[in-house]
């Protein structure tokens, strides 16, 4: 699994300069030249370093417990990391523009409680409820985006304020206790297995999501604008990019991703609950950072973030298998974040 991802990481960011590749490909099919060129690209180096870290971690985990590092272990870890991975795409694209999305807990929980309350377990109602709750996520993002882009408010505090307001809205909407339960179709999405029970559906969801995410971020004109705004907003706007519009769409994307993550989490637990999204703010932030993105914006790849998220999930899965106290687990978790950030940076 991780091997294939490693290859994906290598082949992914190669393409932004297709003319370069085709020119070189015509002259020689020399693999060494391709590797050399990839190594020259700092961003790819960082992504590769994150995957190297992930592989080292999985190999080392075998020493802790022989059952770790097996295919089923990797399957479990990847399944568990989907929720954070989905949310971290939104967080990552916001961070690319130099902002932060701290409204993720609210933007996950509100769509989740709406889904269970409105669909109330009915698959047919899910047909209109699912688009509605994703749109709610997008709407939350639009509010953030308008605050950040048009009113020029600090992203951290704007999204923090949205999150507070959402906390109140969720309480008012649910009267303190979320009702209903998750429709079967979404439960299947999160827990079901495909191909005769061999592949978890949620991993397929993650694969499709990752492909779409990479396409949007690295192979679309929107993605290129996002990088431009993140690297230098003034230059971007001088070269004709409508920075405000890009910013608003970036936050909308993050809101939709958070809503989708909330929906999947609903499917995983069969119902919604207050505080459903709370752990995912710090997890998504940590995943993006460990994945090698720069918090100052302009640099980062989703494939790196994905590896970062999986690293964190491997660590927490290993930790939850031990009988260490909760306090020690948190301390080790913190040290892993710091070590990973420093290790990935050494590559630069």
């Amino acid at each position: 699994m991780s091997q294939t991802m490693n290859e994906e990481a290598g082949s992914g960011p190669q393409k932004p300069n297709p003319e370069f590749e085709s020119g070189l490909g015509a002259s020689s099919t020399n693999l060494r030249a391709v590797v050399k060129r990839m190594w020259a690209n700092r961003a790819i180096k960082i992504v590769l370093a994150v995957y190297a870290l992930l592989i080292v971690l999985i190999v080392l985990s075998r020493f802790i417990n022989p059952s770790y590092g097996s295919t089923s272990f990797i399957e479990t870890v990847v399944s568990l990391s989907v929720f954070t991975a989905v949310v971290a795409f939104g967080q990552g694209i916001v961070i690319l523009t130099g902002g932060f999305d701290l409204s993720i807990p609210g933007a996950m929980t509100l769509p989740a409680v709406m889904l269970t309350a409105m669909a109330a377990g009915s698959n047919t109602r899910t047909l209109w409820v699912l688009p509605l709750v994703l749109a709610v996520g997008g709407g939350i993002g639009a509010v953030n985006g308008i605050g950040v882009a048009l009113l020029r408010l600090s992203p951290i505090v704007m999204t923090l304020a949205t999150n507070t307001i959402l906390g109140g809205v969720i309480l008012v909407y649910t009267h303190g206790t979320p009702t209903g339960f998750t429709p079967k179709v979404i439960v299947n999405l999160a827990q079901g297995k495909l191909f005769g029970g061999s592949v978890p559906e949620i991993i397929v969801v993650l694969l499709i999501f990752t492909v779409l995410g990479v396409l949007l971020q690295n192979y679309s004109s929107f993605g290129r604008r996002v990088y431009a705004v993140g690297s230098n907003p003034i230059v971007a706007s001088l070269s004709g990019i409508r920075t405000n519009r890009v910013l608003i769409w970036v936050y909308v994307t993050s809101g939709v991703c958070a809503a989708f993550g909330g929906v999947l989490l609903c499917g995983f637990s069969g119902q919604s609950y207050l505080g459903l999204g709370d752990p995912y703010l710090l997890l998504s932030l940590a995943g993006v950072v460990v994945g090698g993105s720069s918090v100052k914006g302009g640099r980062g790849y989703y494939l790196g973030t994905l590896a970062g998220v999986i690293i964190l999930t491997v660590v927490s899965t290993i930790l939850s298998g031990t009988n260490l106290s909760e306090g020690f687990k948190q301390i080790i978790y913190a040290l892993v974040i710091i070590v990973a950030v420093l290790a990935v940076r050494q590559v630069e």
Binding site: L160, L282, K296, G327
Partner: protein
């Protein structure tokens, strides 16, 4: 030429006057709706209810003025809270000893942040995100579930009254004064310079490493004081005591008029911000609005405060520019008309 005291006062109050006016407005509204507020008991409750956020917000504001962010403030408060609840004894000596320890531990927590940010050059959000996990873990190791207790005398030192005056009042004043003094030292000036324009500050000889270390350590000491207040108020320990306070602390900083991009604002004004926040809660409570809506209002107030901070600063700048150009024009007129008399006076 000496600066006139009025001018000096105006200079010192810059950045504090706005928040203070807002606070007075809210307190007047509250006092009209709830005349009983003007009793020693309710004022004490009001100050005690704001003190934790107020002092912690001063620390957070110091970091923000230096151009950083500190997400670990909640965990820092938790660590100090459980430390005091588990270890502090009943005797006065033990209590004074542990008060000192709380300040030292707070400073140490800040130094760790400063080390990661200044020396290892990890971005402040990432570093303090990690340390917030770390100290959260340490708090759980010290006390795995809510419990422990502190003596009434300790609680009284911080939350009691003396001759009708709530003890929190002088303590908050002292906290504000500590910052107002430090602000004028080399460290304080460096903090403002670094947060305002990092490159320019370094080019002008500001030592960025020691300044950042100093700023985070100072913030940590303020967290230590806030942790003392927290422990005195709850009179027990809770490893998650500070976890939910981050947003409220940020709100207080913004309401205090501190610019989130660094370099501008006054950390002491964060105390005023915390008082404003608490007075809003009280007004909402008196009106009889369900507590479900409290966080909606808090978020709304936060956005409004941000808008006023950002756009208000621009408006004042423009207004100041207009006044300046108007006065220089007036002065020009003065010199042409009354110039001779001045020249005569000078001779």
């Amino acid at each position: 030429m000496s600066v006139s005291p009025i001018k000096r006062l105006r200079h010192a109050s810059r950045g504090v006057a706005g928040p203070v006016l807002v606070l007075i407005t809210f307190l007047v509204i509250y006092a009209i709706m709830q005349p009983a507020f003007l009793s020693s008991l309710l004022i004490t409750q009001f100050l005690n209810g704001s003190a934790v956020i107020a002092v912690a917000a001063v620390g957070e504001a110091v970091v923000i003025i230096a151009g950083g962010f500190d997400l670990s403030v909640g965990s820092a408060l938790s660590v100090i809270n459980v430390l005091l609840a588990v270890h502090m004894g009943q005797s006065n000596g033990s209590q004074i000893f542990w008060i000192v320890i709380a300040l030292v531990v707070g400073g140490g927590i800040g130094l760790v942040n400063g080390f990661l940010i200044a020396i290892l050059r990890i971005p402040s959000i990432v570093a303090t995100l990690a340390t917030s996990f770390f100290w959260g873990g340490v708090a759980l190791l010290i006390l795995s579930q809510p419990g422990g207790a502190v003596s009434m005398t300790f609680s009284n030192w911080f939350t009691g009254t003396y001759a009708g005056i709530p003890n929190a009042f002088p303590l908050l004043i002292v906290t504000a004064l500590v910052w107002l003094v430090i602000k004028r030292t080399k460290l304080g000036i460096s903090i403002y310079a670094l947060g305002g324009d990092r490159e320019a500050a370094i080019a002008n000889g500001v030592k960025s490493k020691s300044t950042l270390l100093g700023a985070y350590a100072l913030a940590g000491v303020f967290y230590g004081i806030a942790g003392l207040f927290l422990t005195a108020e709850t009179a027990s320990g809770d490893p998650n005591a500070g976890g939910s306070l981050l947003l409220t602390i940020f709100t207080a900083v913004v309401l205090g008029g501190v610019s989130l991009s660094g370099g501008r604002g006054d950390a002491s004004a964060a105390i005023v911000g915390a008082l404003i926040l608490n007075s809003i809660f009280d007004v909402l409570y008196v009106i009889g609005i369900s507590s479900f809506y409290t966080s909606i209002f808090t978020g709304g107030v936060l956005i409004l405060a941000l808008i006023t901070n950002v756009w208000g600063a621009k408006a004042t700048e423009r207004l100041r520019g207009l006044i300046r150009s108007a006065t220089t024009r007036a002065n020009d007129d003065d010199t042409t008309l009354g110039g001779t008399s001045q020249e005569i006076g000078a001779r």
